[in-house]
Amino acid sequence: MINRTEPLLKLSGITKSFSGVTVLHGVDFEVRKGEVHALVGENGAGKSTLMKIVAGIHQADEGRIFWKGREVQIITPRQAFELGISIVHQELALVPSLSVAENIFLGRYPARRLVFRWLLWREMYQRAIKLLRSLGHDIDPRRLVEELSVAEQQLIEIARALSSNSELIIMDEPTSPLSERETTRLFQTIAHLKASGVSIIYISHRLKEIFEVADRVTVLRDGHHIITTSVAETDVGALVRCMVGREIRKQAEALRAQANKEEALRVEGLAARGKFSDINFTVHRGEIVALAGLVGAGRTELVEALFGAGERDAGRVYLNGQPVRINTPADAVRYGMALVTDDRKTKGLVLGASIHFNVALAAGREFARYGIFLNGKKEKELVGQLARELRIKMADLEQPVVSLSGGNQQKVVLAKWLSAGSTIFLLDEPTRGIDVGSKAEIYQLIRQLAERGVAVLFVSSELEEILHLADRILVICRGRIAGELRREEASEEKIMLLATGGGK
C-alpha cells in the first residue's frame, strides 16, 4: 500500500545565514514515506538548523520546501505541527506533575462543549492506552510523568506526536540518555512506527545505531550536503570520513607504560543504602580505570559519593595512602579531586557566564592574591593558554558557554579542572552528546592527563569508549563490583556479561 519512494518531505537548495555567516549552503534533503532517514554530521555541521527550518523555528533565506509534493511555507512551529511534523526533543518537553495521558493530549484534550469545555477523562485514558499499545508498550496513562524513566518519557513524546497524526517525527539524539536495553526497545518502537507508515528523521552521534535503525543516511559537513546513501551501501568508516573530511587515524594502541604503581585513590567498603555497597578498588597514578555497567547500576551515585556530593553510609577513602574525610565537594577539590559530571549543563557549567568565568570557577584561590583578591591578569593568561591547548573553538574568552557546542562545553569543564591543578579525575560519561571529532580530542586529552601522572576514573555506557581508553575496567552490576577486567582480556561480550549479572 505504502509507496516507499514517494518523498513525503523534500527540501531543495536550502540556504540560511545568521548575521552574515552562512550555516547552510543550498542543502537538498528528502524523506520518503515510511522511511527512517538518519542525519549525521559533527556539531556545527548544520543539522539542528536544518531541522529547525523543517519545524518552523527558523525560516530559510533561500530554497523551497515540499510536503507531499506540494510547496509549503513553514513560518511557525504551529504550522509544522499542523502539517504533521513533530520533534522529539533532546531535552524532553513534558510536564512532570501531570499524568501520562494529560501529557499526550496536552493542549488538545478530548472535551465536550457545554458552556465550558468539559474534559472526557475516560476517553482520554482509553485513547492513551491504545496509542501506547500501538507503540508496543503498556504504561498506565494515570501515572505521573515524573515517576517514569527517561525512556518511558521519551515514549510519551512519541505518543504525543502520534496522537496529532504526525506523519514525520524528528528524533534528536533519542538514545543518548538510554541504556542498551531501552535502546533496543526504542528501536522496536521505531520499527512499529515505520510499519504504520510514519517517517522518521533520526539524528544521532552513535553511528553504529544508524546501521541498526535507519534505511538511508545523509551526511552534512560545514553546512554542505555531502552524501545521501542507503545504509546498506556504506559503513561506519566511510561515514566518519564524510563527516570529518579526513581520516581519523586509529590511536596507536601502544600499551602505555604502566610504570607507575603508586596508589592515588583507594576505596574500601564504600556503601550507600539502596545505591551501592561493598565497593573496593584502587586507582594508581597515571592509570585510567573505567567504571562500566548499565545505566542505573549505581555508577553516577558512586562517583558523586566519592566527590562528597552524594550520600554514603560506610567506607573509607584513601588519597595517596592517607585516609581522608570528604563530606562536601569543597573538601574533594581541596584534596585535588575533579569531577566532570554526567550533565554538564545542570551540574558542570554556569551557562550564561563566559568561558573565562567557568574555567576559573574551581581554581579561584589558586591565582588569588592573599587568597582573596582576584589576579585578573594571571588568571586570563592561564585561561587563554588552556583554551588554546584544548583547542576550544570560540570567538573570545568572554563568550558565554551557552553558545558553544557540546564538545567545546565539555572542554571548558575539563579546562576548569586543569586550571585547578587536580590530580585525581573522576569523569562521568565524559563524551555524552559530543560529536566524533571532539570525542577523539577528549580521549587524547584524558590520555595526556594520565601520562602526566593523573589518576583517572571514568564512567561510560559506551563499550567502545571503555575498551579504547581504559587500562582496567571495573564492571558494576546492581550497586556492586561484579568483576574486574584488564585491558588485554576485556571484550564487549565480557563486559556485558558481567554488567547484566551473567558473570557468575
Binding site: V23, L351, K393
Partner: protein, 344 residues
C-alpha cells in the same frame, strides 16, 4: 556558526580590559543593562529640572542622596542576596530591631562607636540566622526563613521597646545619620565608601565571584568545590549587617530609635535592586546599578514632592516604574536569547 567563525581565528582573542571581570557577554544588550538605569536616572532628572526650578540645585540633589541613603544600604544587602537568586524579606524588620537595640544601648550610656559596632553585629547575626535556616534546615526557598525573620524581628522590636520610640540620642551617635563632612552629609559619604568597598568585594575577590557563580548555577558551583552553604550564610549575614548600618543612619537622622522603623523597607530595597538592572534569576547585578536604582527611587519621590503630587499617587508611579524596569529587562533578555540561539 560560532565554530566556523572561530576556525578562521584560531588564536583566541583576549580582549584588553581592566583587571576586573567583565564575564557577562559583551553584546549590545549588555550596554542597555549597564547604562540603562543611568540613562533612566538622567532622563528623570531632566524631566524634573524642566518642571521645577528648585530641583536641580546642589542643596536639593544632596538632599535626595541623603534621603536615599538608608534605602541604598538596604538595597546593597538585598543585591548580594538577589545575585545568589535569593530574596531577603527581613531587612526592614532587622533594621527596626537593630534601631531599637542601638538606641537603648546608647541611652544606657554605652559609647557610640561600640554601640554602632554592636548594632551591626546584631543585624549580621540575625541575617546569619536566615542563612543557617536556609542552608542547614534546608528550607525550600529563602522566602520562608526571611519571611519568618521579618515577623520575629519586628515582633521583638515592639516587645523590647514596648511600642514606644526611644528619643533624644547623643550627638556623636547621631553623626552617621545627621552629621556632615565638608558640607557633604555623613550618610552620603558613608554610602559612597560602603558601596566602593562592596564593589571591590564583588568584582575583585574570590568570594564575590563565588556569589555570582552560585546565582548563575548553584549546582555547578557546588560541584566545582565552592562551599555554597557557607557563602549563602555569609551573604545573608552581610545583608543583615547592612540593614543594621541603615538603622544607625536612620536613628541618627530621626534622633530616635523606633520599633516601626523600616516598615516595608524591604520592598523599596528590592525595587532599587531590580530597577538597577539585577536579575531576579540570579547571577547578574552590579553595585553601581543598585545605587542608581536607589537614586531613581529617591529622585522620583523628591521630584513628585516638589511638584506637589500626593503621596498616594507617588506610590502608583513607583509601582509602575518597577514593572516597566523589569519589562525592559525581560525584553532585553529575550533579544539576547534569540541572538544566542542564532549563534548556535
Amino acid at each position: 556558526m560560532m565554530d566556523q567563525r572561530a576556525e578562521q581565528a584560531q588564536e583566541p582573542v583576549v580582549r584588553k580590559q581592566s583587571v576586573g571581570r567583565a564575564f557577562w557577554p559583551s553584546m549590545p544588550g549588555q550596554l542597555l543593562r549597564r547604562f540603562g538605569p543611568l540613562l533612566g536616572l538622567v532622563l528623570l532628572c531632566l524631566v524634573f529640572s524642566s518642571l521645577s526650578s528648585f530641583f536641580l540645585t546642589f542643596d536639593n540633589l544632596i538632599n535626595v542622596f541623603r534621603q536615599s541613603a538608608v534605602n541604598a544600604l538596604l538595597a546593597l544587602g538585598q543585591l548580594l542576596v538577589i545575585i545568589t537568586a535569593g530574596i531577603d524579606l527581613s531587612v526592614g524588620s532587622v533594621l527596626g530591631l537593630s534601631c531599637v537595640l542601638a538606641a537603648m544601648m546608647v541611652k544606657a550610656g554605652a559609647p557610640s562607636g561600640l554601640t554602632i559596632v554592636a548594632a551591626i553585629a546584631i543585624g549580621a547575626a540575625l541575617g546569619m540566622v536566615n542563612g543557617l535556616l536556609l542552608t542547614r534546615l534546608r528550607l525550600p526557598h529563602p522566602f520562608i526563613p526571611t519571611l519568618g525573620m521579618m515577623n520575629v524581628a519586628r515582633g521583638l522590636a515592639l516587645v523590647i521597646s514596648g511600642g514606644y520610640p526611644i528619643s533624644e540620642l547623643p550627638d556623636d551617635f547621631r553623626f552617621l545619620g545627621a552629621g556632615t563632612i565638608f558640607y557633604i552629609p555623613a550618610p552620603v559619604v558613608l554610602v559612597l565608601v560602603v558601596y566602593t568597598l562592596f564593589h571591590i568585594f564583588l568584582t575583585r575577590t574570590t568570594l564575590g565571584r563565588d556569589i555570582y557563580a552560585i546565582g548563575g548555577n548553584q549546582q555547578a558551583a557546588l560541584m566545582s568545590g565552592i562551599p555554597v552553604a557557607r557563602r549563602l550564610t555569609t551573604v545573608y549575614a552581610l545583608s543583615g549587617g547592612l540593614a543594621a548600618l541603615g538603622a544607625v543612619v536612620l536613628a541618627g537622622r530621626m534622633n530616635s530609635g523606633f520599633p516601626l522603623a523600616g516598615m516595608g523597607a524591604e520592598l523599596d530595597a528590592i525595587a532599587a535592586v531590580i530597577i538597577g538592572g539585577a536579575s531576579f534569576f540570579g547571577g547578574v547585578g552590579s553595585v553601581w546599578g543598585t545605587l542608581i536604582g536607589a537614586l531613581i527611587m529617591g529622585v522620583l519621590r523628591n521630584g513628585l514632592n516638589l511638584l506637589n503630587v500626593s503621596a498616594y499617587w507617588q506610590t502608583v508611579v513607583i509601582g509602575t516604574v518597577i514593572v516597566v524596569a523589569v519589562w525592559i529587562d525581560v525584553w532585553r533578555q529575550r533579544a539576547m536569547k534569540s541572538r544566542m540561539l542564532i549563534s548556535k
